[in-house]
Structures are given as C-alpha cells and as structure tokens.
C-alpha cells in the first residue's frame, strides 16, 4: 500500500515537474512568437515637435514650425506656436512631420502566417453569405505584423475578411492597443463582397488555383456571372422581406413573431446604404458590373482592387464609387499590357477625377511597404502631392474619417509621424511616431531579433 502510494506521489510530482517545464517552454515560445514588445502601447503625454518641416497634407507645408500633441489630439500647429508648459519638447531640426499613413485594404491581424499554418489564419469563413462575421472579432492585437507595420509610419488600416460572396465586415483599426476594442476606430465599417467576375479561365483571378483552369467560353462566363449576381440580389430580397415582416409585427402584435435571422439582420444597414459595401473587382467589365449593381440596388459602394477602374471612371463617378487601389506591385495580367500598366493606373484615376487611395492589398507582413506603393505611382505620372495624399487624406476620406485623420489639422486625432526625409522614400527613417497621441516605441519583432543577433561572433 505504502509503496504504491509513494509511487503515486512520485508520478504526480513527475507530472507536475513536467508540466511546469512544458508550460514554461510554451510561454517562452509564445513570448517569442507574439513578440514580447506587443504590449508596448506607448505613453501618453503632451508633446511638442519644434522647428520641424510640417507637411499638413490638407494645407500648405510649414517649413519651420511647431506641432503640439495633447490629450490624444493635435492641439496646435503653426510657425509661431508656443509650447505649453510641461510639454515634452522634441527637436524637429531636419525632420519632417506627416500624418500617419492609412492602408485601406489589408487583412491585418487576421492571418499571421498564411501558407501552411492554418491555425494562424482567420481570413475566410465557410459559406457564401457571411454578412454577420466581423473582422474585429478575429483580429489578433498581438500579431507581430502590427508593430512591424507601424514603425514604418503606418498608423491605421482597414482590415477585411476574405473569401465567399459576402466575406464579412471590415474593421478600421489603429495599430496600437492590447485589445481589439482599444485598436478600433470603426468596429464594423463596411461589408466586403467579392463581386462575381466574368471569369473565362485565366488572369484577373478568374483562373482558379495556379491559373491552370480550363478556359470557359465568354458567353458561358457571362451567364455564370449573372447567376451569381442573381444570388446576391436574392439576399437583398430576403432581407427586404425579413424587414417587412419585422415592421408588420411591430405594428400588429397579433402576427406571428418573425424568427431572428442574424445574417439578414447584419446585412440591413448595408442594403439600406447606411454603411458602405466594398466590392472587390479588377477588370473594366467587372467594375462596370459593380457600378450597375450599386445603382440598381441603391447601395453605397467602394471598389477594392481597381486595376482598370480608370477605364470605368464615368460609371464610377456617376455612382459616387471611390477606389481602394491595391495593384501598384502587381504584374500586369495580359502579356500585351503596357509594362507600367499598373504603375500608371493611379495617375489615370487622378486625371479622370476619380476618388481613389492606394493600398498594399497585403495580408499583413508587407503592409509596411505602403509608402513605396504610393511613391512608385508618383514615379509614373501621379504628382508627389497626390501620391502622399493617396496614403493619407484620400484613404481617410474614402473610409469616412477625413474629420478625424489623414492630415495634420488642429482637433484631429494625433496619429503623427516624424521622419528624417520624404515619407514615401525607401531610405527614409521614422524617428518618432504617435498614435492617438501616445508616443509609440519604435521596436518590433524585427528590431528585437536584430538586437539578439547583430553582435554574434
């Protein structure tokens, strides 16, 4: 009996030791993987950047001025602004101050490693109609992508779910915070619809896995597209019917109570045009298809992708549809497209008077390249001013946030970046940054790994 008991205790002890060891290892691993810096949410305070070049974006650039950040907002900007007592002074000599950049087309926080690490991917829900799924509920505030992105001057992003016909609701977040709510700028901003394409079996995403799908006859492809559009319209009809049933019940309680349908419920504000719908579309004919759909269904539309949006500028302008352009880095689809076909698209959109912004369209890790996407557009016909606006003020406008961010103006949220050169240049370094007025440490998973190995002999 006794020896058995001892054995039992020994076993328990062993298990305990083992679990401590394993648990310890796990916490070590997760600290490494999530980046121990992730809870460095910066510090609040009153900050004054003095003697800097201030690129307001909304107005004239102040060559030698001061900007004051207080209570999370921009409190003052100008050539002759006095520094409030107790403010932390930052010498802005040789520095340029910019509004934080905004990427309006990412999947930030929804997928840590997309290839073959399924456990880290929360991008695509099962089913075609997912109006009720919300990115804000899938965003990992401790993704390593967040710090890596923000230290390059990007302060806010739209994070969108992907896949299916109705992918779900995109969120707008600041790249700082320990919880999704702390990060949220607009928790449920827009519904993402992957607008049905005329897919003839190659290019423009029509070809399926590896582009090896069998080509489809054009007329057949049109028919397939129309069938899918009809499917989409059916959801509108169901929602209308559902809303009517609810209205009727509200007026007459003797009617049977309509069972709650959370998907249709979620779709209602988008159907009514109270909130925007982001339609992914690249090719002219598909973009025109979106414009027709928006006009017919009386919704508020935004194009995401937009390779050939400039070609459909008339339809887009008529229906007030702006474009989140995600293709500066993409290769032109057709062999006989101009080599700079996708570099010049932003300048063509500008020339056509379209409202657009530039986005990386990246899942997360390479969102930090946003300034270079805009810069390349600047090399190919877009003015430098527009290039800068396309990742700041124009993005804010399209996201309905122009009163809060996108430029340096008194009263706006203090999402502010201090750089040692032109914000869009690849060699420029970010020296200070503020999100919601908090001074953010310029560390990331990458600077930590760098520090760990840079002096190894």
């Amino acid at each position: 009996m006794n020896s058995q008991r001892t054995m039992h205790n020994a076993k328990l002890f062993l298990i305990l030791v083992l679990s401590v060891i394993i648990g310890g290892q796990f916490s070590l691993v997760s600290a490494q993987n999530d980046g121990s810096q992730q809870n460095q949410t910066g510090r609040a305070g009153t900050f004054a950047i003095v003697g800097a070049r201030i690129v307001t974006v909304s107005g004239a650039t102040i060559e030698n001025g001061t900007i004051v950040i207080q209570n999370g907002k921009i409190a003052a900007i100008g050539a002759n602004v006095s520094v409030p007592a107790g403010a932390e002074k930052i010498d802005g000599k040789g520095m340029s101050v910019y509004p934080g950049m905004i990427d309006a087309g990412t999947n930030m926080g929804l997928a840590e490693i997309t290839l073959a690490v399924n456990g880290s991917v929360d991008l695509t829900e099962v089913g075609t109609m997912n109006a009720n799924t919300k990115a804000i509920k899938g965003i990992n505030p401790h993704s390593a992508h967040i710090n890596v992105t923000r230290v390059n001057g990007i302060t806010s992003v739209l994070s969108a779910p992907a896949g299916g016909l109705m992918a779900g609701q995109a969120a707008i977040i600041n790249l700082n915070g320990s919880t999704p709510d702390e990060m949220a700028v607009v928790r449920e901003y827009a519904l993402v619809i992957n607008f049905p394409r005329i897919a003839t079996g190659g290019g423009f995403g029509g070809g399926g896995f590896g582009g090896g799908a069998q080509p489809v006859d054009f007329n057949e492809a049109v028919k397939r597209r129309d069938t899918q559009v009809e499917e989409l319209k059916k959801i509108f009809k169901s929602t209308t019917t559902y809303m009517r049933a609810k209205d009727a019940y509200a007026k007459d309680k003797t009617l049977p109570y309509p069972a709650t349908d959370q998907k249709l419920e979620a779709f209602e504000p988008f159907m009514k045009g109270e909130k925007p719908i982001i339609f992914t579309a690249e090719r002219e004919r598909d973009i025109r298809g979106v414009a027709k759909f928006v006009s017919e269904m009386k919704v508020k539309g935004i194009i995401m992708g937009g390779q050939e949006a400039w070609k459909a500028a008339d339809d887009l302008k008529k229906n007030n549809i702006p474009v989140i352009y995600t293709n500066v880095y993409s290769l032109p689809v057709r062999d006989d497209d101009d080599y700079d076909y996708l570099f010049t698209a932003p300048s063509k959109m500008a020339a056509a008077g379209l409202k657009f912004c530039i986005s990386t369209g990246d899942t997360g890790p390479m969102v930090r390249d946003l300034p270079y996407h805009a810069g390349i557009a600047g090399a190919f016909g877009l003015s430098k001013e527009d290039a800068l606006k396309s990742v700041t003020l124009y993005s804010a406008e399209i996201l309905g946030l122009a009163d809060k961010m996108g430029s340096l103006d008194v009263g706006k949220v203090a999402n502010v970046v201090v750089a040692d050169g032109d914000l869009l240049e690849a060699r420029t370094n970010i020296k200070y940054m503020f999100i919601n007025g908090r001074m953010i440490p310029l560390t990331s998973r990458h600077t930590e790994l760098f520090d760990s190995f840079k002096d190894r002999k």
Binding site: N33, E112, I113, T114, L115, A116, V117, A144, H145, T200, G202, G203, G207, F209, G210, G211, G212, P215, D217, F218, N219, Y329, S330, L331, P332, V333, R334, D335, D336, D338, Y339, D340, G364, P365, M366, R368, P371, Y372, G375, I376, G378, A379, F380, K384, L424, E425, A426, R427, T428, N429, R445, H446, L449, F450, F453, K454, R456, K457
Partner: protein, 467 residues
C-alpha cells in the same frame, strides 16, 4: 484558328517593333554623355561620359568625343548604374520543377527557356540585364541552372552567358518536405519528409557521385578496362565535387543552411550561394568563414513559418561580417524594383550607398562567376548599363534606357511610340470580322495568352512566386 493567327500577327508586329530598337544604330557603339555614374566599383562620378564600343566599356571620363557611327545619349541630370543582376529568377522557364524525385540533377533549365516571356521585357524596364535562372525548390537537388542576359528579341541561344560557370539548384525546408500543401488523397508521401531526411538525401547523392567519380577515375587510369555507364544524374554532382559547378541552395532556417555547409565541408566543396537565407543573420560568422555568398530578400518575410524569423537587417549583419550579399527577386513582380530593395538595405542598418548598390550588381555577378565581364561600370567590362531619370534609390525614379553590350533593349521613349503602333494595330485587328464581339457577327473574341502560371513553383511545389 484565324483568331489565333491574328494574335500571332500582333505578336510578330510587337517583336518586329523591338527589332527596330536593336537596329536603330549603325553599329553598337554608344556614348552616354554627362551623367552621374554610380560605378558600383569606384564610387559615383559626376558629369561623366561612358563610351561603349563593340559591346565593351572602352572609356569612362569627361568630354569624350563620339566616334563615327556611335549613338550619343545626352544623360544630363540622369543617373547611370551597372545593369542589375538578379541571382534568383524563374522568368523564362516554361516549367519550374521536375517534382517526381527529390534528386533531379539531370534536368536543365537551359532546355525550357522561353525567350518571349514578357517578364523579360518588364525586368529590362526595371533595369535588370542579367539573371540566374533556377529550378524551383520542390527537390533536394532540383536541376541545372542557366545564367543569362536578357537579350529580348533575340533567339534563345543568345541568352545564356557562354563563359558563366554552370550552376545547380539545391533546396531545403518546407517545399522539399512537401508540407506546404496537401497531397491528393491516396498519394504516397515522398521521401524526404523531414529536415534530417533532406540532408541525408543530399549526402546520399554526394556519396553516389563520389563512387561514380572513383569508377571513372579507375577506368581512366587503366585500373579497370570496363567503362562505367554514364549517369546523367551523378555527372553534375561530380562537377560540384570537382569545384566546376556552383551550388545555389534554397533554404530559410539557419540550421539547415549550416547543415549544408557542414556537408560541403565533409565533401570538400564550397557552397556558392545560400538562396533566400532569411535566417543567415543568425550564422553570419559561419558563412563568412567559408566564403559562401548569400542571396536574400531585403525585407520580405512572414509568408510561411520558416520565413517568420526573417528581418530586414539581414543584409547589414552579413555585410558587417564580410559575407558577399546579393538581393534577389524570385519573382517577376519584385524583379522590377530591385533598386528599391537595395535602397532599403541602406535604411535597415545603414550600409553605405555603393555597398548597397553592389548587392544588386557586382555582388551577384561575383556569386555567379561573371564579375570579370559585368556587374560594375569599369573599362573592359561589358556595356551593360541602365540610365535612370533620378537616383535609382529614389522611389520616384524610373528607368529611361537599359543597355546590354551596347545594344538598347528597353527605352521608354521607344516604348511610348511602340504603344501607339500597337494600339493602331489592335484597332485594325479588332475591326476584322473574326474578332467582332459576340452578338455582332463574330465568335467570342480571342483572349490574349495569360502568363504561364500553371507550373510556377509556388503554386504546386513551392518557391517561384516569392516563397
């Protein structure tokens, strides 16, 4: 069928207009006047002329007069760099992986080069003049590489650099293990499936090659009269052992690249380049000690588990340790902006400008064994140069002209004119009955050929598309 013919006519016209570029000069002599010349060897020379004669750089200096028949390019206010060399590309390859076995050293990229791949022209428009064309990363030993110059419009035999040493692609990690995709149900798993299996597969190949070499040595020395049977799989591996073939080894994790270098120590050869090598910053001294090169992305990361520890400071750490570093694209899209990837090397760690520029010019040339002829602007080297409208490290810069051995292969002004010609041609073709839209008398319009993506190795067996 007729529609296809019409498209071919268009293609021929396209190719035809390129040959106009080629034949515009009475000879291939070019004098570039008054440029800021980033030599990638001797710093930046302001207000400098470069004379290219018979394909070679013959003079660099001020106030050079143009010889008769030479084309003169006024590059006032412009920048000139050596042609960019991409030490990891899959452009031009009609197939990327022979994925049936894990050792396929017998297959050759040379046999599947497509000189009409539009990526060539787009790369030229990004200032790239040369590339190492590699198999994908599906196999431990993937096949024989080809080192080319992008002589767009020329027949395929003009592309390979004749005196470039031969190379071979090795690969390790997730793609070789075939763990990045689910094999169709019922398919037996291919060996190797683990990192320790991969290195044993390579060791096995080297042991077999050593034995094979022994058999031939014995035959040649008369020790035996029985001639060994030729083995196309082992021949190129023997060339590695003899130091005649360069090993370019795809991998991500530091430990597996270290394992390969230890294997190379064991068999007495030097690995030419660690490709991708996104964790090479963890083993920089070990790499430097062996004189092995690293050909990396500047900052691409996080696309798979084995790239999760990649950092943009890798180039700096390797450079500080004295490793020869090149920045490659592995992608037809990224290939067009290698100048910006080099600029980022300055941002992350502060590598000096010329050293950063060398990472896309002279360093890859050294890694590929072609630095005697290209990679920097020096007298005696091939006239492979790029003219930029602004400093090539500026995001606002654009390539104006790309020249290989004195011949212009991309010129923005010519491209602009060509577009108008093509547009006119298209208009004519579209009016043809056979090309009318459905419902207006013709059949469905023909769709221009899409890029051949079906076999690109990220799609099925990993690597080509950035991975």
């Amino acid at each position: 069928m007729k529609k296809i013919t019409a498209y071919f006519v268009l293609l021929i016209l396209l190719v035809g207009s390129f040959s106009v570029v080629v034949s515009a000069q009475s000879n291939n002599d070019v004098l570039i006047k008054n440029a800021s010349v980033l030599t990638a060897a001797r710093g930046t020379l302001e207000n400098t002329d470069i004379l290219i004669q018979n394909g070679k750089i013959t003079r660099i200096g001020k106030g050079i007069t143009a010889p008769a028949g030479a084309r003169v390019i006024d590059a006032t206010g412009k920048f000139v760099t050596p042609g960019i060399i991409d030490a990891h590309s899959h452009s031009m390859l009609d197939a990327i992986n022979e994925g049936s076995f894990s050792v396929t050293s017998m297959v050759r990229t040379r046999d599947m080069l497509n000189p009409t791949d539009i990526e060539i022209y787009r790369a030229l428009a990004g200032g790239v003049t040369g590339a190492l064309l590699l198999h994908g990363s599906a196999n431990s030993i993937g096949g024989q590489s080809t080192t080319v110059k992008f002589k767009w419009g020329h027949p395929v035999e003009d592309y390979p650099i004749a005196d470039a040493p031969p190379g071979i692609k090795f690969a390790m990690g997730e793609n070789v293990r075939q763990t990045t995709f689910s094999p169709p149900p019922g398919t037996p798993l291919r060996y190797p499936r683990t990192r320790q299996g991969v290195i044993e597969t390579m060791r096995d190949a080297f042991i077999r090659a050593r034995d094979y070499k022994q058999a031939w040595d014995d035959f040649k020395s008369g020790k035996t009269k029985v001639q060994p049977r030729t083995d196309l799989e082992l021949k190129p591996i023997v060339e590695i052992l003899e130091g005649k073939r360069l090993v370019h080894a795809h991998g991500y994790r530091a430990d597996e690249h270290l394992n390969l270098m230890l294997l190379a120590d064991e068999f007495g050869f030097r690995v030419a380049t660690l490709q991708h090598g996104l964790e090479t910053y963890k083993i920089a001294p070990e790499i430097a000690k062996r004189g092995t090169g690293a050909s990396i992305f500047t900052d691409f990361w996080g696309f798979k588990l084995e790239s999760y520890d990649a950092i943009p400071y890798t180039a700096y750490i390797l450079w500080k340790n004295g490793v020869n570093v090149s920045i490659n694209s592995d992608d037809g899209g990224r290939m067009r902006r290698l100048n910006l990837d080099a600029a980022k090397v300055q941002k992350y760690g502060g590598v000096p400008e010329q050293d950063a520029l060398q990472m896309i010019t002279l360093n890859p040339a050294k890694q590929l064994g072609i630095d005697k002829r290209t990679g920097s602007i020096e007298v005696g080297k091939d006239g492979d140069v790029v003219i930029w409208n602004a400093h090539p490290f500026s995001v606002y810069s654009r390539v104006d002209t790309t020249i290989i051995e004195g011949v212009t292969y991309f010129d923005r002004a010519v491209d602009a004119k060509m577009r108008m010609d093509v547009a006119k041609e298209r208009e004519t073709l579209e009016k043809l009955d056979i090309n009318k839209a459905p419902g207006t008398g013709g059949g469905p319009p023909s769709r221009p050929a899409e890029r051949r993506r079906g076999d690109r190795d990220d799609a099925d067996n990993g690597d080509g598309g950035n991975n």
